[in-house]
């Protein structure tokens, strides 16, 4: 019999007594469907916010195109001019397939359809790679896979969540467009096709996520797939290309949604078949080791490894990866437009209404080669801005993962580190501007109707200040709200672009439109460079960056 005389709780070796010899209650097993449902909801939560933003943004712009059609194309002459465009292949290369363009349905599908499709699939692919390969790369998959859900169960739950967002897109497009005055059947055809297109490209992202072991490589794969599909679409619009080439790419299928083509069942059958095929392929490859890709790892041995001995060298190494990818896209866009510039300009010259419309939408008069080049650089400016936002996100990533700690616990000044990263990014932006300018000159020269080398160069340089402005804003966000960098930096670019592109359709006060920096990027080489606006953008970017650096210097490092 034990007798406890005194006891205090602070004694070192007194373990709490085990009061009961009863076995702990067994956990209630969750049925497989329940596990799958929870995984589905988990993925849906991951996708929700970005999906809402994309669907809302795309739908508002698209519905705006429908709602303002009659205001824009009011006269009979304009209607006739639009109808005459149906026989111009070069115009089809850059927008939708031209069928019944003088109707609101034809106008939306033809003029807006291509850009709309690109916006939808880019979102779908990036979201897919993020929740599939990105989550696995970040180590979030093991806790799920170590449970009772299989690799294929996990993939189907993610795909189901992705498809739910695509269904939402289809419903929103169908409802909003029919409410805005577009034919109900065409509205739902567009919505349904957009949803299926998004699902197909999202599944391409899922497939790429099975093939390779890193998110970055998966993005490269889906980017290449997107590029090939767009390339085929541009090729399909060329004069000498046979009609069947339209059917080699989903972007071509979308062109046959017009009611007069009587091809909607074929379009939907093709989209469904593609989707089923891709889902099957992704599922077939999904049963693999975690943290690997079916294609296996590339050899991680590098002989000889190039030395990286300074923080400037490190900055260049880190910044050049994404800048190289984005820069290549900028140059390719400029090259494609440049090669088509002569035909496009000639076509536009015959149709003043088209030229006027393009001027309203993009602020560019496109009846000359220089005008088409300026249009190319309008899109180049968008890509440059996205690149700059990406650079700010990359900078934040160094802090979020605490890699910057390795440098800052050594004799490296915080401000110097951030300045080095920022200047490296600015140098890359400038390099991309120069190369794209030279590409524009070279491409137009190849068609025999060249812009001057100086004009090409200036056109490339002209989009750099916008990039610097966005980078500066991004760095300010890194300093002030580091955990919101991705949303705010890319959000700034999207908001500015949408304001410039779609704002005029809504007839806001002029000062509201002037808030978009895109509005201040001169249409070089069609017009002279606006040096004043460029300097203001550089100055605003520099001030924003300085604020970001000042705050970054005075605040704690913050992990993700």
């Amino acid at each position: 019999m034990a007798t406890t005389i005194r006891r205090t709780p602070t004694r070192p070796d007194v373990a709490p007594p085990v009061a009961s010899d009863a076995a702990p209650p067994a956990a209630e097993p969750c049925p497989p469907v329940g596990v799958w449902w929870r995984a589905y909801r988990h993925h849906l939560r991951l996708l929700r916010n970005a999906a809402i933003a994309w669907i809302a943004g795309v739908s508002i712009v698209s519905t705006g195109v429908v709602a303002t059609f009659e205001d824009r194309i009011g006269t009979e002459a304009e209607m006739q001019a639009l109808e005459a465009m149906e026989d111009i292949p070069a115009l089809e290369a850059l927008s939708g397939r031209y069928v019944e363009i003088a109707t609101v349905e034809g106008f939306v599908l033809s003029r807006w359809g291509m850009l709309f499709s690109i916006l939808v699939v880019v979102w779908a692919m990036l979201a897919s790679v993020r929740v599939l390969r990105g989550a696995e790369e970040a180590g979030h998959v093991e806790p799920l896979r170590s449970g009772t859900i299989t690799s294929r169960g996990l993939l189907t739950s993610a795909l189901a969540a992705l498809f739910t967002t695509h269904l939402a897109l289809a419903v929103v497009i169908g409802l909003s467009h029919s409410a805005a005055g577009m034919d109900v059947a065409t509205s739902w055809a567009l919505g349904g096709a957009a949803g299926l297109l998004a699902a197909s490209f999202a599944t391409t992202g899922a497939l790429a996520s099975q093939l390779v072991a890193s998110r970055r490589r998966a993005v490269v794969i889906v980017g290449c797939f997107l590029g090939v599909m767009l390339g085929l679409r541009v090729l399909a619009a060329a004069t000498a290309t046979p009609e069947w080439v339209w059917w080699t790419t989903p972007f071509g299928w979308i062109g046959f949604l017009h009611e007069v083509d009587q091809a909607r069942p074929a379009v939907f059958a093709a989209l469904v078949a593609l989707l089923v095929g891709l889902v099957g392929a992704a599922l077939a490859l999904a049963h693999r080791d975690v943290h690997t890709g079916v294609l296996g790892r590339r050899s991680h041995r590098v002989r000889p490894a190039r030395a990286v001995r300074t923080q400037a060298g490190l900055a260049a190494r880190l910044a050049s990866g994404s800048a190289g990818t984005w820069g290549t896209v900028v140059v390719l866009v400029v090259l494609v437009f440049g090669l088509l510039a002569r035909d496009l300009a000639q076509a536009a010259a015959e149709f003043p209404t088209q030229t006027e419309l393009t001027k309203e939408m993009f602020g560019v008069v496109i009846d000359t080669t220089a005008g088409i080049a300026a249009l190319a650089f309008y899109f180049g400016a968008l890509l440059m801005a996205a690149l700059a936002a990406g650079q700010a996100v990359d900078i934040r990533e160094e802090e979020a993962t605490w890699r910057v700690e390795h440098l800052l616990v050594r004799p490296v000044d915080r401000t110097r580190w951030l300045v080095t990263r920022a200047l490296t990014s600015v140098a890359l932006l400038a390099l991309i501007g120069v190369v794209s300018g030279i590409a524009a000159w070279a491409a137009t020269a190849a068609t025999g109707d060249a812009i001057t080398f100086t004009d090409g160069l200036l056109a490339g340089i002209n989009i750099v200040p916008l990039g610097v402005l966005v980078l500066g804003v991004g760095i300010a966000v890194v300093g002030l709200a580091p955990r919101r960098t991705t949303a705010l930096a890319y959000g700034f670019v999207v908001a500015a672009f949408v304001l410039d592109f779609a704002g005029p359709f809504l007839d806001p006060p002029d000062w509201v439109l002037q808030l978009s920096p895109f509005r201040h990027v001169a249409a070089v080489p069609a017009v002279d460079m606006n040096v004043g606006a460029a300097l203001v953008m550089l100055a605003v970017g520099a001030v924003a960056a300085a604020i970001g650096m000042l705050v970054f210097r005075r605040r704690d490092l913050q992990e993700a």
Binding site: T10, R301, V308
Partner: protein, 306 residues
């Protein structure tokens, strides 16, 4: 300017709050040149906050933290010339090889001993030719350890440095620590591996909820804590109710177990009145001390740090 005659580490009333959450509360602690100090505490006790505040990665809410007399927040670059740091979780640049990362960190640190680097690479059986993304957690940690040790910095600051290392590598790491200590380097080590702290450290500091609850040599801490006494006796149990320093007395079938704090003399005199057939007295292990200080129900003697 760095004052090499100043203590390598000095916290002066250092406080760090994250909004309403206390990360560190009025920490005052000094580490002398060549000393090895272990920082103990459960998760969330403030160990990492302490180290990051010292290194100027976090801004103190009040007070200051100095490295060789230099405020880590105000003069980080000058202060960091004499520090090497090993974080608990070392994330690498996935596109760089281990060798590139070591070169970079060594150069940025202001220089390193290449011969010692090669020796460490060999001792830790580390392959520097692989890309960062392919390294396991243990191998990533080896990069951090080698990068810090190869600089031979006068002050080594380590946050759970051996986490992820296998037992053999842990022994190698402890050998390296002893070597660094023998070379006169000052070490501030946060660790959960108590045997590591016990084997290497001259002093330990115990944190709980951001407060330094105790510090001193391990012998001093043992002195402050109760020793365990076990004895067997014949006849009637000894009367121990009023014996100073005696607590937790358990008597069972001629067997006695209790804790005694301070001098055992009164206890021995009390036991002398009983026929004791065997007696054993044992100091608390560091693990037992650790549990004593971490016990949530214990009173926290705040502000006892000096």
């Amino acid at each position: 300017m760095t004052r090499m005659d100043a203590p390598p580490v000095r916290f002066v009333e250092t406080t760090k709050h994250y909004g309403q959450v206390v990360g560190l509360e009025r920490l005052s602690l000094e580490i002398a040149d060549g000393e090895t100090v272990g920082l103990l505490g459960p998760n969330g006790a403030g160990k990492t906050t302490t180290l990051r505040t010292l290194l100027g990665l976090l801004k103190p809410t009040s007070g200051r933290a100095e490295i060789f007399g230099l405020d880590g927040w105000r003069h980080p670059v000058a202060a960091h010339r004499h520090v090497a740091y090993i974080p608990g979780e070392f994330t690498v640049w996935p596109g760089l090889t281990g060798g590139q990362i070591l070169d970079l960190l060594g150069t940025v640190a202001g220089g390193y001993d290449p011969t010692y680097r090669d020796e460490l690479v060999e001792r830790f059986n580390f392959d520097p030719s692989k890309k960062g993304r392919s390294y396991s957690k243990g191998n990533r940690q080896k990069i951090a350890i080698i990068a810090a040790l190869m600089t031979r910095a006068p002050l080594l600051v380590m946050d759970e440095p051996s986490s992820g290392l296998d037992p053999l590598m842990t022994v190698t790491f402890q050998d390296c620590l002893r070597q660094a200590k023998a070379a006169g380097q000052t070490i501030l080590l946060s660790s959960h591996i108590l045997s590591e702290v016990e084997a290497v450290c001259d002093r330990v500091a115990v944190l709980r909820e951001g407060v330094l609850v105790e510090h001193g040599t391990i012998a001093e801490l043992r002195h402050l804590q109760a020793n365990t006494v076990e004895a067997t006796y014949l006849g009637a149990p000894p009367a121990l109710d009023d014996v100073p320093g005696v607590e937790d007395v358990q008597l069972r079938d001629g067997h006695l177990r209790l804790h005694v704090t301070g001098s055992p003399d009164p206890l021995l005199k009390a036991l002398a009145r009983t026929e004791v057939t065997a007696i054993q007295m044992r100091e608390p292990s560091l693990e037992e001390l650790f549990h004593a200080y971490y016990d949530e129900s214990a009173d926290v003697p705040a502000g006892t740090a000096g």
